[in-house]
Symmetry: C2
Subunit: 221 residues, 2 copies
């Protein structure tokens, strides 16, 4: 019964972090390593330092546990601020800055891709609407601010611009994760900058491009 002055009174002494947090973290690590069906509740409980039955005091079932992991560990919480923090005197500079910041953020979360894959394949995308409902409005606002920094942009629907930028970035990240080190050695170290450059200016030399697909021209049903 010795007094421990610096410890605030608690009804139950918490071991390390909150049990729910430890479960979430263990589940996250196992899910991204082995997938949803490849991770058992028993193993998750063990890695969280808790008995199997105890997990069900915090989460009603395995599916709900994954949903919680997906929404709490999805890196959009870091990626959106990265875009919001980007800026520059021209649209070009702002786009380049955003890509750099996104890459730096993603390099701390290489397992994010796995989280998305599990969601799409094993959960059949049931959590995607909830995720995009949070992401898309914020992303849209951030992109608008980024591209409003100057004129000089071709006339594109903002959703298309946004989707193309996000696609360009993630296609770089995903291929970087999938290709072997030997294959990646064939790429220059500034490949991301070149991706951004293609996004900004294209692969065709200036003044050489053919007719733009204006409205009324081309396949149109």
């Amino acid at each position: 019964m010795a007094r421990r002055p610096t410890v605030p009174p608690r009804s139950t002494p918490p071991r390390q972090a909150d049990a729910a947090q430890r479960i979430l973290n263990a589940a996250y690590r196992l899910f991204v390593a082995h997938g949803y069906h490849g991770s058992s509740m028993r193993r998750i409980a063990a890695e969280a330092g808790i008995a199997l039955g105890g997990v069900y005091n915090h989460f009603p079932g395995k599916r709900q546990l994954f949903t919680a992991v997906f929404l709490e560990y999805h890196p959009y919480r870091e990626l959106i601020p990265a875009i919001e923090a980007a800026g520059g005197n021209t649209v070009e500079a702002a786009v380049r800055d955003a890509a750099e910041r996104l890459l730096a953020t993603m390099h701390g979360r290489p397992d994010f891709i796995n989280l998305m894959f599990i969601e799409v394949v094993e959960m059949h995308g049931e959590n995607l609407p909830a995720l995009f409902a949070v992401i898309l409005p914020r992303l849209s606002t951030a992109m608008q601010r980024l591209t409003a920094a100057g004129s000089g942009l071709r006339d594109l629907p903002p959703p298309v611009f946004m989707r193309a930028f996000v696609g360009m970035f993630f296609s770089y990240v995903i291929t970087e994760q999938m290709l072997s080190p030997e294959t990646l050695a064939a790429f220059p170290p500034d490949t991301l900058e070149r991706f951004v450059d293609i996004f900004l200016h294209g692969v065709v030399e200036d003044g050489k491009q053919g007719p733009l697909p204006a409205a009324g021209i081309g396949p149109q049903r």
Copy 2:
């Protein structure tokens, strides 16, 4: 013992297709629907119309069965020819034609993405080197032919050009699969053409681009 003239003599009458083929097909359908750990050998056997034990006469184990499915059902067998069949009078036209042909091919195989996801997450990418060893040389040759159709291309390392083109295309396909119909309604019907157009000419208006990141400028270690 009635004579059946049109049936060639066989030691064992094959029910429908070859048993190995039926197993492969059942495994493919189940894997892409529920993932690797979410598909049992029992269920695969049942869907193939065979007893569990019979599967092991054709495949030594579950992992090897997935490997066989992955390599035999991967749509690169259709995607590469689609690129090889593309052409045009200018690089622009050839790139547009390739994208169109790829999209038409992919629309017949919407589950291909799942196959790749399972490979990356649940199989830890162990079959990727074998796959890329087959794909990359053929893809490289096809892209070279495509871009040799005319000049007018900016000076880019061919692997970067190839990776950016493939990334542009698949980022379109994957987002098309992940976004909800309501979200997709915000995009114009010619969004793929616009993706290709950004790939060709960029998002920045002509004559407005800033200094290109020439060698010697920018972060370089």
